[in-house]
Point group: C2
Chain length 240, copies 2
Amino acid sequence: MNSHDAHVEGPDLAALAALLADGTRASFCLALLDGRAWTAIELARYAGVAASTATGHLNLLVSGGLLTQERQGRHRYVRLADPDTAELIEKLASMAPRRADPPRSLPAANRSRALARARTCYDHLAGALGVAITEAMTERGLLDWEQGLTLTSDGTTWLAELGIAQPPATRRPPVRSCLDWTERRPHLAGAVGAALCRHTFDAGWITRIGTSRAVALTDTGKRALKDHLGLVDETQTPVR
Amino acid sequence: MNSHDAHVEGPDLAALAALLADGTRASFCLALLDGRAWTAIELARYAGVAASTATGHLNLLVSGGLLTQERQGRHRYVRLADPDTAELIEKLASMAPRRADPPRSLPAANRSRALARARTCYDHLAGALGVAITEAMTERGLLDWEQGLTLTSDGTTWLAELGIAQPPATRRPPVRSCLDWTERRPHLAGAVGAALCRHTFDAGWITRIGTSRAVALTDTGKRALKDHLGLVDETQTPVR
DNA sequence: GCGATCCTTCGGCGGCCGCCGAAGGATCGC
DNA sequence: GCGATCCTTCGGCGGCCGCCGAAGGATCGC
Protein backbone atom coordinates (compact mmCIF):
# COMPACT_ATOMS: atom_id res chain seq x y z
CA MET A 1 0.00 0.00 0.00
CA ASN A 2 1.04 3.55 -0.60
CA SER A 3 1.58 5.54 2.57
CA HIS A 4 1.44 9.08 1.16
CA ASP A 5 -0.98 8.35 -1.64
CA ALA A 6 -1.97 11.50 -3.50
CA HIS A 7 -4.88 9.80 -5.23
CA VAL A 8 -7.51 9.14 -2.65
CA GLU A 9 -10.15 10.12 -5.16
CA GLY A 10 -11.75 7.63 -7.49
CA PRO A 11 -12.63 3.97 -7.25
CA ASP A 12 -10.60 1.68 -5.02
CA LEU A 13 -9.84 -0.82 -7.74
CA ALA A 14 -7.14 -2.56 -5.70
CA ALA A 15 -9.54 -3.38 -2.87
CA LEU A 16 -11.92 -5.14 -5.22
CA ALA A 17 -9.15 -6.94 -7.13
CA ALA A 18 -7.58 -8.08 -3.85
CA LEU A 19 -10.74 -10.05 -3.08
CA LEU A 20 -10.07 -12.16 -6.15
CA ALA A 21 -6.29 -12.20 -5.92
CA ASP A 22 -6.12 -15.21 -3.63
CA GLY A 23 -6.11 -18.73 -5.01
CA THR A 24 -8.65 -20.04 -2.54
CA ARG A 25 -11.11 -17.15 -2.92
CA ALA A 26 -10.75 -17.32 -6.70
CA SER A 27 -11.53 -21.02 -6.70
CA PHE A 28 -14.61 -20.33 -4.54
CA CYS A 29 -15.81 -17.79 -7.08
CA LEU A 30 -15.19 -20.07 -10.04
CA ALA A 31 -17.16 -22.81 -8.28
CA LEU A 32 -20.01 -20.39 -7.56
CA LEU A 33 -20.04 -19.37 -11.21
CA ASP A 34 -22.36 -22.33 -11.71
CA GLY A 35 -25.03 -20.01 -10.32
CA ARG A 36 -26.00 -22.21 -7.40
CA ALA A 37 -25.70 -21.72 -3.65
CA TRP A 38 -22.94 -23.66 -1.90
CA THR A 39 -22.39 -24.28 1.81
CA ALA A 40 -19.17 -23.21 3.47
CA ILE A 41 -17.97 -26.75 3.98
CA GLU A 42 -18.66 -27.70 0.37
CA LEU A 43 -16.47 -24.83 -0.79
CA ALA A 44 -13.78 -25.70 1.75
CA ARG A 45 -13.62 -29.28 0.50
CA TYR A 46 -13.70 -28.15 -3.11
CA ALA A 47 -10.74 -25.85 -2.57
CA GLY A 48 -8.92 -28.19 -0.19
CA VAL A 49 -8.67 -25.87 2.82
CA ALA A 50 -9.73 -26.14 6.46
CA ALA A 51 -13.23 -25.04 7.42
CA SER A 52 -11.84 -22.23 9.55
CA THR A 53 -9.93 -20.91 6.55
CA ALA A 54 -13.07 -20.99 4.41
CA THR A 55 -14.99 -19.02 7.04
CA GLY A 56 -12.46 -16.22 6.88
CA HIS A 57 -12.52 -16.06 3.09
CA LEU A 58 -16.29 -16.08 2.92
CA ASN A 59 -16.45 -13.22 5.42
CA LEU A 60 -14.21 -11.18 3.14
CA LEU A 61 -16.16 -11.99 -0.02
CA VAL A 62 -19.54 -11.30 1.57
CA SER A 63 -18.51 -8.03 3.20
CA GLY A 64 -16.87 -7.03 -0.08
CA GLY A 65 -20.21 -7.43 -1.80
CA LEU A 66 -19.24 -10.22 -4.21
CA LEU A 67 -21.30 -12.87 -2.44
CA THR A 68 -24.61 -12.91 -0.61
CA GLN A 69 -25.31 -15.36 2.15
CA GLU A 70 -28.26 -16.99 3.78
CA ARG A 71 -28.24 -18.94 7.05
CA GLN A 72 -30.37 -22.03 7.22
CA GLY A 73 -30.09 -23.96 10.44
CA ARG A 74 -26.47 -24.91 10.85
CA HIS A 75 -25.73 -24.22 7.19
CA ARG A 76 -24.28 -21.09 5.66
CA TYR A 77 -25.28 -20.81 2.01
CA VAL A 78 -23.45 -18.40 -0.25
CA ARG A 79 -23.95 -17.44 -3.90
CA LEU A 80 -22.71 -14.79 -6.29
CA ALA A 81 -24.30 -11.46 -5.45
CA ASP A 82 -25.67 -10.54 -8.90
CA PRO A 83 -25.20 -10.90 -12.68
CA ASP A 84 -22.70 -8.04 -12.63
CA THR A 85 -20.45 -10.01 -10.29
CA ALA A 86 -20.74 -13.10 -12.45
CA GLU A 87 -19.82 -11.00 -15.46
CA LEU A 88 -16.73 -9.65 -13.72
CA ILE A 89 -15.54 -13.13 -12.80
CA GLU A 90 -16.24 -14.39 -16.32
CA LYS A 91 -14.23 -11.54 -17.80
CA LEU A 92 -11.30 -12.20 -15.48
CA ALA A 93 -11.50 -15.92 -16.21
CA SER A 94 -11.55 -15.35 -19.96
CA MET A 95 -8.43 -13.18 -19.78
CA ALA A 96 -6.52 -15.08 -17.12
CA PRO A 97 -3.59 -17.32 -18.07
CA ARG A 98 -4.41 -21.03 -18.35
CA ARG A 99 -2.90 -23.29 -15.75
CA ALA A 100 -0.23 -25.56 -17.14
CA ASP A 101 -1.08 -29.02 -15.85
CA PRO A 102 -3.84 -31.01 -17.53
CA PRO A 103 -5.85 -33.22 -15.16
CA ARG A 104 -3.88 -36.35 -14.29
CA SER A 105 -6.37 -38.86 -12.95
CA LEU A 106 -9.01 -40.61 -15.03
CA PRO A 107 -11.97 -39.36 -12.95
CA ALA A 108 -10.59 -35.81 -13.19
CA ALA A 109 -10.26 -36.14 -16.95
CA ASN A 110 -13.84 -37.38 -17.21
CA ARG A 111 -15.05 -34.52 -15.09
CA SER A 112 -13.39 -31.90 -17.23
CA ARG A 113 -14.65 -33.65 -20.38
CA ALA A 114 -18.22 -33.41 -19.07
CA LEU A 115 -17.72 -29.77 -18.16
CA ALA A 116 -16.39 -28.94 -21.62
CA ARG A 117 -19.40 -30.64 -23.20
CA ALA A 118 -22.18 -28.81 -21.35
CA ARG A 119 -22.38 -26.80 -18.15
CA THR A 120 -24.07 -23.84 -16.55
CA CYS A 121 -22.17 -20.57 -16.47
CA TYR A 122 -23.87 -18.53 -13.77
CA ASP A 123 -27.46 -18.56 -15.06
CA HIS A 124 -26.97 -19.49 -18.71
CA LEU A 125 -25.62 -22.43 -20.73
CA ALA A 126 -21.96 -22.87 -21.66
CA GLY A 127 -19.57 -25.46 -23.04
CA ALA A 128 -19.93 -27.05 -26.47
CA LEU A 129 -23.70 -27.23 -25.99
CA GLY A 130 -24.03 -23.55 -25.11
CA VAL A 131 -21.90 -22.54 -28.07
CA ALA A 132 -23.76 -24.88 -30.44
CA ILE A 133 -27.14 -23.46 -29.42
CA THR A 134 -25.85 -19.92 -29.85
CA GLU A 135 -24.46 -20.65 -33.29
CA ALA A 136 -27.64 -22.45 -34.38
CA MET A 137 -29.67 -19.45 -33.24
CA THR A 138 -27.42 -17.21 -35.30
CA GLU A 139 -27.74 -19.38 -38.42
CA ARG A 140 -31.52 -19.35 -38.09
CA GLY A 141 -31.53 -15.57 -37.91
CA LEU A 142 -32.67 -15.43 -34.29
CA LEU A 143 -29.54 -13.61 -33.21
CA ASP A 144 -27.70 -10.91 -35.10
CA TRP A 145 -24.04 -9.94 -34.54
CA GLU A 146 -23.76 -7.11 -37.06
CA GLN A 147 -24.03 -4.17 -34.66
CA GLY A 148 -23.23 -5.88 -31.41
CA LEU A 149 -25.25 -8.90 -30.35
CA THR A 150 -29.01 -8.44 -30.68
CA LEU A 151 -32.14 -10.56 -30.63
CA THR A 152 -33.99 -10.26 -33.96
CA SER A 153 -37.77 -10.06 -34.29
CA ASP A 154 -37.64 -13.68 -35.48
CA GLY A 155 -35.81 -14.38 -32.24
CA THR A 156 -38.56 -12.78 -30.19
CA THR A 157 -41.15 -14.88 -32.02
CA TRP A 158 -39.09 -18.03 -31.51
CA LEU A 159 -38.87 -17.44 -27.76
CA ALA A 160 -42.63 -16.85 -27.59
CA GLU A 161 -43.27 -20.10 -29.45
CA LEU A 162 -41.23 -21.93 -26.86
CA GLY A 163 -43.34 -20.31 -24.17
CA ILE A 164 -40.45 -18.20 -22.87
CA ALA A 165 -41.71 -14.81 -21.76
CA GLN A 166 -39.68 -11.82 -22.86
CA PRO A 167 -37.68 -10.91 -19.74
CA PRO A 168 -38.68 -7.52 -18.29
CA ALA A 169 -36.49 -4.56 -19.21
CA THR A 170 -33.96 -3.91 -16.45
CA ARG A 171 -30.43 -2.57 -16.33
CA ARG A 172 -29.35 -6.03 -17.44
CA PRO A 173 -29.01 -6.33 -21.23
CA PRO A 174 -31.41 -8.86 -22.80
CA VAL A 175 -28.68 -10.55 -24.80
CA ARG A 176 -24.97 -10.51 -24.10
CA SER A 177 -22.01 -12.38 -25.53
CA CYS A 178 -19.91 -14.34 -23.05
CA LEU A 179 -16.61 -15.83 -24.15
CA ASP A 180 -16.60 -19.55 -23.46
CA TRP A 181 -13.44 -20.74 -21.65
CA THR A 182 -13.33 -24.17 -23.14
CA GLU A 183 -14.56 -23.36 -26.64
CA ARG A 184 -12.88 -19.96 -26.98
CA ARG A 185 -15.99 -18.85 -28.86
CA PRO A 186 -18.93 -16.79 -27.57
CA HIS A 187 -22.13 -18.21 -26.11
CA LEU A 188 -25.39 -16.47 -25.26
CA ALA A 189 -25.71 -14.74 -21.87
CA GLY A 190 -27.82 -11.89 -20.52
CA ALA A 191 -31.46 -11.98 -19.46
CA VAL A 192 -32.56 -13.97 -22.52
CA GLY A 193 -29.71 -16.43 -22.06
CA ALA A 194 -30.85 -16.94 -18.47
CA ALA A 195 -34.50 -17.40 -19.47
CA LEU A 196 -33.54 -19.91 -22.14
CA CYS A 197 -31.38 -21.86 -19.69
CA ARG A 198 -34.20 -21.93 -17.13
CA HIS A 199 -36.52 -23.25 -19.84
CA THR A 200 -34.16 -26.08 -20.78
CA PHE A 201 -34.19 -27.24 -17.14
CA ASP A 202 -37.94 -26.76 -16.66
CA ALA A 203 -38.80 -28.54 -19.90
CA GLY A 204 -36.51 -31.43 -19.02
CA TRP A 205 -34.12 -30.88 -21.93
CA ILE A 206 -31.12 -31.10 -19.64
CA THR A 207 -30.32 -32.39 -16.16
CA ARG A 208 -27.48 -31.86 -13.74
CA ILE A 209 -24.80 -34.54 -13.67
CA GLY A 210 -24.62 -35.39 -9.97
CA THR A 211 -23.87 -32.30 -7.95
CA SER A 212 -21.49 -30.70 -10.42
CA ARG A 213 -22.14 -27.77 -12.68
CA ALA A 214 -21.94 -30.11 -15.65
CA VAL A 215 -25.23 -30.92 -17.35
CA ALA A 216 -26.36 -33.67 -19.71
CA LEU A 217 -28.74 -33.43 -22.63
CA THR A 218 -31.80 -35.72 -22.22
CA ASP A 219 -33.55 -37.53 -25.07
CA THR A 220 -36.33 -34.97 -24.82
CA GLY A 221 -33.70 -32.27 -25.10
CA LYS A 222 -32.11 -33.85 -28.17
CA ARG A 223 -35.48 -33.97 -29.90
CA ALA A 224 -36.33 -30.41 -28.88
CA LEU A 225 -33.04 -29.02 -30.17
CA LYS A 226 -33.53 -30.84 -33.46
CA ASP A 227 -37.12 -29.58 -33.82
CA HIS A 228 -36.56 -26.00 -32.73
CA LEU A 229 -33.03 -25.32 -33.96
CA GLY A 230 -32.21 -28.06 -36.45
CA LEU A 231 -29.39 -29.13 -34.16
CA VAL A 232 -28.42 -32.75 -34.76
CA ASP A 233 -26.75 -34.94 -32.21
CA GLU A 234 -23.30 -34.68 -33.72
CA THR A 235 -23.20 -30.95 -33.17
CA GLN A 236 -23.78 -31.28 -29.46
CA THR A 237 -21.01 -33.74 -28.78
CA PRO A 238 -18.30 -32.86 -31.26
CA VAL A 239 -15.37 -35.23 -31.52
CA ARG A 240 -12.25 -33.31 -30.61
CA MET B 1 -1.68 -19.86 -2.07
CA ASN B 2 -3.02 -23.34 -1.68
CA SER B 3 -0.33 -26.01 -1.22
CA HIS B 4 -2.29 -29.13 -2.15
CA ASP B 5 -4.62 -27.50 -4.63
CA ALA B 6 -6.84 -30.04 -6.32
CA HIS B 7 -7.92 -27.59 -9.00
CA VAL B 8 -4.99 -27.01 -11.24
CA GLU B 9 -7.30 -27.04 -14.24
CA GLY B 10 -8.96 -23.90 -15.50
CA PRO B 11 -8.00 -20.25 -15.65
CA ASP B 12 -5.67 -18.82 -13.05
CA LEU B 13 -7.99 -16.03 -12.04
CA ALA B 14 -6.02 -15.18 -8.91
CA ALA B 15 -2.83 -14.52 -10.88
CA LEU B 16 -4.57 -11.96 -13.06
CA ALA B 17 -6.44 -10.33 -10.18
CA ALA B 18 -3.23 -10.12 -8.15
CA LEU B 19 -1.77 -7.82 -10.80
CA LEU B 20 -4.49 -5.29 -10.01
CA ALA B 21 -4.69 -5.96 -6.28
CA ASP B 22 -1.96 -3.51 -5.36
CA GLY B 23 -2.73 0.17 -4.80
CA THR B 24 0.20 1.40 -6.83
CA ARG B 25 -0.38 -0.90 -9.82
CA ALA B 26 -4.09 -0.08 -9.75
CA SER B 27 -3.36 3.62 -9.83
CA PHE B 28 -1.00 3.07 -12.79
CA CYS B 29 -3.79 1.30 -14.65
CA LEU B 30 -6.37 3.95 -13.87
CA ALA B 31 -3.97 6.60 -15.14
CA LEU B 32 -3.34 4.61 -18.31
CA LEU B 33 -7.06 4.32 -18.83
CA ASP B 34 -6.80 7.67 -20.59
CA GLY B 35 -5.51 5.62 -23.52
CA ARG B 36 -2.16 7.36 -23.83
CA ALA B 37 1.39 6.13 -23.30
CA TRP B 38 3.09 7.23 -20.08
CA THR B 39 6.77 7.04 -19.13
CA ALA B 40 7.83 5.13 -16.05
CA ILE B 41 8.79 8.27 -14.16
CA GLU B 42 5.50 9.97 -14.95
CA LEU B 43 3.63 7.05 -13.45
CA ALA B 44 5.96 6.95 -10.44
CA ARG B 45 5.33 10.63 -9.71
CA TYR B 46 1.60 10.23 -10.30
CA ALA B 47 1.40 7.39 -7.80
CA GLY B 48 3.90 8.90 -5.37
CA VAL B 49 6.43 6.05 -5.34
CA ALA B 50 10.17 5.81 -6.00
CA ALA B 51 11.33 5.17 -9.56
CA SER B 52 12.76 1.82 -8.55
CA THR B 53 9.40 0.78 -7.19
CA ALA B 54 7.69 1.78 -10.41
CA THR B 55 10.14 -0.30 -12.43
CA GLY B 56 9.22 -3.40 -10.49
CA HIS B 57 5.50 -2.84 -10.90
CA LEU B 58 5.78 -2.14 -14.62
CA ASN B 59 7.75 -5.35 -15.09
CA LEU B 60 4.91 -7.28 -13.48
CA LEU B 61 2.18 -5.57 -15.49
CA VAL B 62 4.02 -5.97 -18.79
CA SER B 63 4.94 -9.60 -18.27
CA GLY B 64 1.37 -10.24 -17.12
CA GLY B 65 0.13 -8.95 -20.48
CA LEU B 66 -1.86 -5.98 -19.20
CA LEU B 67 0.56 -3.39 -20.56
CA THR B 68 2.72 -3.13 -23.64
CA GLN B 69 5.94 -1.15 -23.64
CA GLU B 70 8.15 0.63 -26.09
CA ARG B 71 11.66 1.92 -25.44
CA GLN B 72 12.61 5.24 -26.93
CA GLY B 73 16.05 6.45 -26.01
CA ARG B 74 16.18 6.68 -22.24
CA HIS B 75 12.39 6.55 -21.97
CA ARG B 76 10.20 3.56 -21.26
CA TYR B 77 6.71 4.16 -22.59
CA VAL B 78 3.87 1.92 -21.45
CA ARG B 79 0.22 1.76 -22.42
CA LEU B 80 -2.73 -0.58 -21.91
CA ALA B 81 -2.29 -3.70 -24.02
CA ASP B 82 -5.66 -3.69 -25.81
CA PRO B 83 -9.34 -2.73 -25.59
CA ASP B 84 -10.07 -5.92 -23.67
CA THR B 85 -7.71 -4.86 -20.91
CA ALA B 86 -9.27 -1.41 -20.80
CA GLU B 87 -12.67 -3.03 -20.53
CA LEU B 88 -11.55 -5.20 -17.61
CA ILE B 89 -10.20 -2.20 -15.73
CA GLU B 90 -13.35 -0.20 -16.47
CA LYS B 91 -15.50 -3.02 -15.16
CA LEU B 92 -13.46 -3.32 -11.97
CA ALA B 93 -13.52 0.44 -11.54
CA SER B 94 -17.28 0.63 -11.99
CA MET B 95 -17.85 -2.06 -9.34
CA ALA B 96 -15.13 -1.03 -6.88
CA PRO B 97 -16.02 0.83 -3.68
CA ARG B 98 -15.55 4.60 -3.81
CA ARG B 99 -12.79 6.03 -1.70
CA ALA B 100 -14.05 8.03 1.25
CA ASP B 101 -12.08 11.27 1.22
CA PRO B 102 -13.01 13.99 -1.25
CA PRO B 103 -10.06 15.98 -2.60
CA ARG B 104 -8.88 18.51 0.00
CA SER B 105 -6.85 21.08 -1.87
CA LEU B 106 -8.28 23.62 -4.28
CA PRO B 107 -6.17 22.49 -7.26
CA ALA B 108 -7.19 18.90 -6.61
CA ALA B 109 -10.84 19.89 -6.50
CA ASN B 110 -10.48 21.74 -9.80
CA ARG B 111 -8.76 18.78 -11.36
CA SER B 112 -11.50 16.38 -10.40
CA ARG B 113 -14.15 18.88 -11.53
CA ALA B 114 -12.52 19.03 -14.96
CA LEU B 115 -12.32 15.24 -15.12
CA ALA B 116 -15.98 14.89 -14.24
CA ARG B 117 -16.89 17.35 -16.97
CA ALA B 118 -15.11 15.73 -19.89
CA ARG B 119 -12.31 13.21 -20.25
CA THR B 120 -11.07 10.34 -22.34
CA CYS B 121 -11.76 6.84 -21.10
CA TYR B 122 -9.28 4.63 -22.94
CA ASP B 123 -10.13 5.53 -26.54
CA HIS B 124 -13.59 7.06 -26.18
CA LEU B 125 -15.23 10.03 -24.45
CA ALA B 126 -16.45 10.00 -20.85
CA GLY B 127 -17.63 12.33 -18.13
CA ALA B 128 -20.67 14.60 -18.43
CA LEU B 129 -19.75 15.32 -22.05
CA GLY B 130 -19.48 11.66 -23.00
CA VAL B 131 -22.78 10.87 -21.34
CA ALA B 132 -24.51 13.92 -22.89
CA ILE B 133 -23.38 12.93 -26.39
CA THR B 134 -24.54 9.37 -25.84
CA GLU B 135 -27.94 10.50 -24.61
CA ALA B 136 -28.36 13.00 -27.44
CA MET B 137 -27.54 10.23 -29.94
CA THR B 138 -30.17 8.07 -28.31
CA GLU B 139 -32.82 10.83 -28.45
CA ARG B 140 -32.10 11.40 -32.12
CA GLY B 141 -32.56 7.70 -32.82
CA LEU B 142 -28.92 7.08 -33.72
CA LEU B 143 -28.51 4.56 -30.93
CA ASP B 144 -31.03 1.99 -29.77
CA TRP B 145 -31.06 0.33 -26.34
CA GLU B 146 -34.04 -1.98 -26.79
CA GLN B 147 -32.16 -5.25 -27.44
CA GLY B 148 -28.77 -4.35 -26.07
CA LEU B 149 -27.00 -1.29 -27.40
CA THR B 150 -26.98 -1.00 -31.20
CA LEU B 151 -26.23 1.58 -33.85
CA THR B 152 -29.34 2.25 -35.97
CA SER B 153 -29.26 2.77 -39.72
CA ASP B 154 -29.83 6.47 -39.00
CA GLY B 155 -26.75 6.22 -36.82
CA THR B 156 -24.72 4.76 -39.66
CA THR B 157 -25.86 7.60 -41.94
CA TRP B 158 -25.05 10.18 -39.29
CA LEU B 159 -21.51 8.86 -38.91
CA ALA B 160 -21.03 8.92 -42.67
CA GLU B 161 -22.21 12.52 -42.82
CA LEU B 162 -19.58 13.45 -40.26
CA GLY B 163 -17.00 11.74 -42.44
CA ILE B 164 -16.40 8.96 -39.94
CA ALA B 165 -15.76 5.70 -41.73
CA GLN B 166 -17.57 2.63 -40.40
CA PRO B 167 -14.89 0.83 -38.38
CA PRO B 168 -13.92 -2.53 -39.88
CA ALA B 169 -15.56 -5.61 -38.40
CA THR B 170 -13.27 -7.22 -35.82
CA ARG B 171 -13.77 -9.16 -32.62
CA ARG B 172 -14.38 -5.79 -30.98
CA PRO B 173 -18.09 -4.84 -30.89
CA PRO B 174 -18.94 -1.68 -32.87
CA VAL B 175 -20.91 -0.14 -30.03
CA ARG B 176 -20.65 -0.95 -26.36
CA SER B 177 -22.05 0.60 -23.22
CA CYS B 178 -19.51 1.66 -20.59
CA LEU B 179 -20.70 2.74 -17.15
CA ASP B 180 -19.39 6.22 -16.38
CA TRP B 181 -17.75 6.44 -12.91
CA THR B 182 -18.63 10.05 -12.28
CA GLU B 183 -22.06 10.13 -13.90
CA ARG B 184 -23.18 6.62 -12.93
CA ARG B 185 -24.86 6.43 -16.33
CA PRO B 186 -23.61 4.72 -19.49
CA HIS B 187 -21.59 6.35 -22.24
CA LEU B 188 -20.71 5.08 -25.70
CA ALA B 189 -17.66 2.82 -26.08
CA GLY B 190 -16.60 0.19 -28.59
CA ALA B 191 -15.14 0.72 -32.06
CA VAL B 192 -17.66 3.41 -32.99
CA GLY B 193 -17.10 5.20 -29.69
CA ALA B 194 -13.38 5.21 -30.44
CA ALA B 195 -13.87 6.48 -34.00
CA LEU B 196 -16.16 9.25 -32.77
CA CYS B 197 -13.66 10.28 -30.10
CA ARG B 198 -10.86 10.38 -32.65
CA HIS B 199 -13.01 12.56 -34.89
CA THR B 200 -13.71 15.07 -32.10
CA PHE B 201 -9.96 15.50 -31.63
CA ASP B 202 -9.15 15.61 -35.35
CA ALA B 203 -11.92 18.09 -36.12
CA GLY B 204 -10.81 20.31 -33.24
CA TRP B 205 -14.01 19.92 -31.24
CA ILE B 206 -12.06 19.17 -28.08
CA THR B 207 -8.51 19.64 -26.79
CA ARG B 208 -6.55 18.16 -23.91
CA ILE B 209 -6.33 20.27 -20.77
CA GLY B 210 -2.58 20.38 -20.14
CA THR B 211 -1.21 16.88 -19.86
CA SER B 212 -4.17 15.37 -18.03
CA ARG B 213 -6.80 13.07 -19.41
CA ALA B 214 -9.35 15.86 -18.98
CA VAL B 215 -10.51 17.54 -22.19
CA ALA B 216 -12.20 20.86 -22.93
CA LEU B 217 -14.84 21.59 -25.53
CA THR B 218 -13.73 24.24 -28.05
CA ASP B 219 -16.00 26.85 -29.63
CA THR B 220 -15.89 24.80 -32.82
CA GLY B 221 -16.92 21.78 -30.80
CA LYS B 222 -19.83 23.59 -29.16
CA ARG B 223 -21.12 24.66 -32.56
CA ALA B 224 -20.66 21.17 -34.00
CA LEU B 225 -22.52 19.49 -31.15
CA LYS B 226 -25.36 21.96 -31.53
CA ASP B 227 -25.53 21.43 -35.29
CA HIS B 228 -25.15 17.68 -35.37
CA LEU B 229 -26.86 16.64 -32.15
CA GLY B 230 -28.91 19.61 -31.00
CA LEU B 231 -26.80 19.71 -27.85
CA VAL B 232 -26.84 23.15 -26.26
CA ASP B 233 -24.17 24.48 -23.96
CA GLU B 234 -26.09 23.89 -20.76
CA THR B 235 -26.21 20.17 -21.33
CA GLN B 236 -22.47 19.85 -21.52
CA THR B 237 -21.66 21.60 -18.25
CA PRO B 238 -24.53 20.71 -15.97
CA VAL B 239 -24.64 22.45 -12.62
CA ARG B 240 -24.31 19.84 -9.90
C1' DG C 1 32.53 16.16 -23.04
C1' DC C 2 29.75 16.77 -18.93
C1' DG C 3 26.07 17.43 -15.90
C1' DA C 4 21.16 16.08 -15.83
C1' DT C 5 17.65 12.84 -16.52
C1' DC C 6 15.66 8.26 -17.08
C1' DC C 7 15.73 3.86 -15.75
C1' DT C 8 17.43 -0.51 -13.47
C1' DT C 9 19.51 -3.80 -10.06
C1' DC C 10 20.30 -5.01 -5.53
C1' DG C 11 19.99 -5.56 -0.57
C1' DG C 12 17.41 -5.10 3.37
C1' DC C 13 13.47 -3.85 6.17
C1' DG C 14 8.75 -4.32 7.74
C1' DG C 15 4.10 -5.64 7.60
C1' DC C 16 0.37 -8.04 5.89
C1' DC C 17 -2.04 -12.17 5.02
C1' DG C 18 -3.11 -17.04 4.37
C1' DC C 19 -2.79 -21.24 6.75
C1' DC C 20 -3.80 -24.58 10.40
C1' DG C 21 -5.50 -26.88 14.68
C1' DA C 22 -7.77 -26.56 19.02
C1' DA C 23 -11.80 -25.39 21.32
C1' DG C 24 -16.40 -24.55 21.45
C1' DG C 25 -21.29 -22.93 20.13
C1' DA C 26 -25.42 -24.19 17.39
C1' DT C 27 -28.16 -27.32 15.03
C1' DC C 28 -29.43 -31.75 13.24
C1' DG C 29 -30.85 -36.78 13.00
C1' DC C 30 -32.25 -40.61 15.42
C1' DG D 1 -30.77 -36.70 25.00
C1' DC D 2 -26.53 -37.58 22.51
C1' DG D 3 -23.25 -38.19 19.01
C1' DA D 4 -22.40 -36.06 14.46
C1' DT D 5 -22.08 -32.21 11.57
C1' DC D 6 -21.60 -27.34 10.42
C1' DC D 7 -19.57 -23.33 11.41
C1' DT D 8 -16.83 -19.83 14.10
C1' DT D 9 -13.17 -17.61 17.04
C1' DC D 10 -8.62 -17.45 18.43
C1' DG D 11 -3.63 -17.80 18.64
C1' DG D 12 0.44 -18.54 16.38
C1' DC D 13 3.44 -19.60 12.51
C1' DG D 14 5.63 -18.66 8.12
C1' DG D 15 6.24 -16.57 3.81
C1' DC D 16 5.42 -13.31 0.43
C1' DC D 17 5.54 -8.73 -1.24
C1' DG D 18 5.83 -3.72 -1.43
C1' DC D 19 8.83 -0.14 -0.11
C1' DC D 20 13.08 2.57 -0.18
C1' DG D 21 17.86 4.29 -1.04
C1' DA D 22 22.32 3.56 -2.94
C1' DA D 23 24.86 2.68 -6.89
C1' DG D 24 25.40 2.62 -11.55
C1' DG D 25 24.39 2.12 -16.78
C1' DA D 26 22.38 4.55 -20.81
C1' DT D 27 20.92 8.50 -23.09
C1' DC D 28 20.05 13.34 -23.64
C1' DG D 29 20.81 18.50 -24.12
C1' DC D 30 23.99 21.97 -24.53
